[in-house]
Symmetry: C2
Amino acid sequence: MSTTEFESLDKCLESHLPEEELKEVKRILYGKETKKLELPSSAVDAATDRDFELKGFQFDAAQEQLRPPRKVRVGLVQHHIVLPTDAPVMEQVNAMHSRIGEMVEVAAMCGVNIICFQETWTMPFAFCTREKEPWLEFSESAENGHTTRFCQELATKHNMVIISPILEREDVHNTVWNTAVVISNSGNVLGKSRKHHIPRIGDFNESTYYMEGDTGHTVFQTHFGKIAVNICYGRHHPLNWFMYSMNGAEIIFNPSATVGTLSEPMWPIEARNAAIANHCFTCAINRVGTEHFKSEFTSGDGQKAHHDFGHFYGSSYVAAPDGSRTPGLSRTRDGLLVVEMDLNLNRQISDRWNFKMTGRYSEYAEELTEAVRPDFKPKIVK
Amino acid sequence: MSTTEFESLDKCLESHLPEEELKEVKRILYGKETKKLELPSSAVDAATDRDFELKGFQFDAAQEQLRPPRKVRVGLVQHHIVLPTDAPVMEQVNAMHSRIGEMVEVAAMCGVNIICFQETWTMPFAFCTREKEPWLEFSESAENGHTTRFCQELATKHNMVIISPILEREDVHNTVWNTAVVISNSGNVLGKSRKHHIPRIGDFNESTYYMEGDTGHTVFQTHFGKIAVNICYGRHHPLNWFMYSMNGAEIIFNPSATVGTLSEPMWPIEARNAAIANHCFTCAINRVGTEHFKSEFTSGDGQKAHHDFGHFYGSSYVAAPDGSRTPGLSRTRDGLLVVEMDLNLNRQISDRWNFKMTGRYSEYAEELTEAVRPDFKPKIVK
């Protein structure tokens, strides 16, 4: 069985384990059982017609006396590129717009309030090629590019907050960024969050295209809750999640594009650890499929030149502050994951587990300030 | 099936999944396959006679030209208390010494270089009772208490570094601490690491007994590698793991005592995330069994008074910097996990993934310094 044939961990476990043991396995792997969310049959039918997976789950919180529940429905979208990578740029972008348009329509039927697309969703993840053209032609203005205008229409039409991660071209200084544009449910650009940590993994170096983001750890107060966007490689940095949380984020989205045997076992760990450690919800989104490029390229690993970066394994999921998580979307299919969460759970878990109050952060601020000095002497007892 | 009957995730998966799918499931759950380590049959027989589980695994690294492999064998011990909790204190301690003595003997047969016992290993985990007596009578001097002397003998006899987490009584100021004593393979007390973060989880408050540790993030340079000890609740704090790593730790041990449905799904996540994020090995150790106390106690949760804290689910494991991990020890039995690791893997993975170089730590030092000020204004866009 090749890694691209294995559709999902959950399906495999469900089809082989006896019911009672499956329950224990799921409890240990996923925590408290995540309830299935009833979705309208029109949405289920539309997803089938449009050939994507649709799954719904919900995280409840305890009823409080003074605060009403704060239920929000979040949508995570993962998808293949639509056209071949050598099709004309504008055709590729438009094809992706139409695919996303039909998926967002289903999200709207499911009552989604905040939706997030995958990293650089309008284009192939072409940074492995190290070619500048035509890939830089996919870059657009975050404020008023073609894609932002498209998302503003969707946002207004469906009363939905949209997180749209694109390749950003900033015209004043002529710089390029990996940026998530956050659009309010009334269609305004609330702001943007630029990728904070830029990968250098082996020879795969995205700083060939864009540098470390300069937007810090901004949190966006939307109509439905306080959200932040930690793009892709930033999920490997616990301090990054932490600082979004310190700025008040209740849901942190992690739109990603990741492949391969090395990253897949890390995938279920990092966003979930962040949800636990920071008493918040995290949403991990990864694209699906294998993207073929016309020009061959090498990967600095002694292997022959090749035409693809590997299989993007999807598996998008949501993790909750109580350590539980939803099953993942498919490893191979386009999909929409709809998750209803009561944001009251964050404070309830924080009140119970108390990580923010037992965190000794002032001392860490001092220790870290020391540790980054060039003359830092590590505290080693011999 | 009750949670105390389910012996282990791995056994369950192995007995139900077809071989090919099992391989994919394990790859996704555990990363690159951890090889089984051949252990001497004398050790296997001794473990069977002494009624504990013995498992061995190994993590390899690539061969380098200039550095020879740095292989070290680590032992993780999990065990039940031996006598009832109302037996005389000294009898309880001595019974635990003898149990550990016979387990360490098997570790020695397996060539273990560094061994770590569970949190406060000489006593029941009685802090749920909120009684001071007789539990404080289990406290001992870290430098020359009965247990430290016992461990020094073992260390010398077996040429083994021993990490001995005990309840420490410091006689000068008459304070009590939750402390790991680190004893070199020549039998010297190298130093101690006091529990850095003290739990307040619901009504479970260990600061009734001991306060936040004052030993900072000390790393111990032993004959076999640089090690650190992050006791129990500190595993929920990513900054804590991080700061041990910033001080040079190659292996971070996490001796713990944890129960229950809320913490069990977090257990496979946190130490493993720390190994990934910090390019080091982590060793998570939890005790096993249910400990009954004579006096009943309540838990501030609306439930009736009871006599136990819940089931300690064992499941000790080792995680590697490449995202892989060993299977866990049993959820119900005493056990010794022997893991051979080539410490060269840490730098190899760091060179590949580059988290320390892409971490932007100076900026975090500034941001965190800001964030802990009483007049901190979170960065929220409205």
